[in-house]
Symmetry: C2
Subunit: 260 residues, 2 copies
């Protein structure tokens, strides 16, 4: 079975119209598909409303207990369920999941070395429940995963959505009967040569070029872990990995595609 | 197949220990089972934190757009996912759902007569997706439903959890191969003869007695719709309906059982 794994995040989630357009594009993909979404700025807005201000240590956000509750409410609650309801209205039989649902993805509390990240979960490599995902897909159900996992002993943890997408894609691609394509969708056309020029996206990128662009600070900030996740999946059995706009999900010419 | 439908609500949800005890009791039920939960006071606490104060019209709470967002976050988000993670830790393979997930339960906006209840959904009688529920159960997955439904055109709606429990029980009981028992669990031993005396629970109640106790104001407030839902299910094919404490789920002698 061929499976498309689509991750949507960034500004696509923040803006209602962009989100709906992304979901429409997702629905146009034929065959088996899985959607993974991040949280955008919504959790920050709710945090602010509740008077909970992000705790930062050395520029990194810390997920304390209150923040964990807020991200669970936001990602698994309002964002996930509104996406599912919208997909249902497009006749896509979506079903929302976090990592605890059906024991979909287990993680462990990130080990504290110098920084205590709080309730952040790193995925247990072998824990992705590919059996459940394939079972849902084969029964015409489209899984919609948010970026909350669990540790198996009753606790929820906050996990990066790009990482979840990469692990799910990799785990499925290791099944004998699966061929997997992974698409990271966001508000840009792809990996930009020049961040000031939204048209300067690369058609192709290989690991060597990625390393070079990282060294020269052409690729910075959030694009680094995104590309690390993308290459991780590409180097572990995923047959195609792309980065770009959701409207170009079906169009290989207008996005960045990972290559050898 | 014999299916136990268990609804937990009220103070059981508010208090962490009561909730965990209820979930442990639920896990001890053998065979096919479905959990339905309400929201307790958690949504009010979050509302207050966010500076959203419940809008009341003629003593009835109105679900405006902001309140809808809060109940979705609370019921489908933090409560549902924490319950699922806890059940997983007890080796019960739970999977959380709202009505939009897998098109589980559709509803329509409650018709405005004299009161505008806001985003409240009344269940479409034939909409309960018994196929999905049975399909999950047969595959060793325990559905955990929260009290959020959808209207099929992209909107989530707030629906009473007792009503959801009654409709799911009724819908499943109308399937040829299903026998259904419905248990309403809360912080009392059953339907009380005297609300001041927690030991005064009835062992049995029939519809006639319920009507009499309603007339004499012995049964009041929230117990009225709860019993209406219970009798609705009992009169529509559910083979046993009980009301009482979760620790007595397996013990018919210590709760109120509906009878003819």
């Amino acid at each position: 079975m061929k499976i498309h794994i689509v991750k949507i995040g960034g500004h696509l989630i923040n803006d209602r119209k962009s989100l709906h357009d992304s979901l429409e594009a997702f629905c146009k993909l034929q065959g088996y598909k899985v959607l993974i979404h991040g949280g955008g700025r919504k959790a920050d807005l709710i945090s602010n409303r509740m008077g909970v201000f992000p705790k930062m240590i050395k520029g990194r956000r810390v997920t304390d207990k209150e923040t964990l509750d807020i991200v669970v409410m936001t990602y698994a609650g309002i964002i996930n369920k509104n996406i599912v309801a919208r997909l249902q209205s497009y006749h896509c039989n979506a079903l929302g999941l976090c990592g605890a649902d059906g024991n979909c993805i287990q993680s462990y509390l990130r080990k504290m070395v110098n920084i205590d990240y709080g309730y952040v979960g790193d995925i247990n490599v072998k824990s992705v429940n590919t059996h459940l995902i394939k079972f849902l897909l084969k029964n015409n159900i489209t899984p919609v995963l948010c970026s909350i996992t669990h540790n198996g002993i009753g606790n929820l943890l906050n996990t990066n959505a790009d990482t979840i997408a990469a692990y799910i894609a990799m785990s499925l691609s290791q099944e004998k009967d699966c061929e997997v394509e992974l698409h990271f969708c966001f508000e840009r056309k792809g990996v930009l040569r020049n961040v000031q020029d939204s048209e300067s996206y690369l058609k192709k990128i290989n690991f060597h070029l990625f390393q070079k662009m990282k060294k020269s600070h052409t690729i910075t900030n959030g694009m680094i872990p995104k590309l690390e996740n993308a290459f991780f999946a590409f180097q572990n059995g995923v047959s195609k990995v792309s980065i770009g706009l959701p409207i170009h999900l079906l169009n290989d010419l207008n996005k960045t595609i990972l290559c050898l």
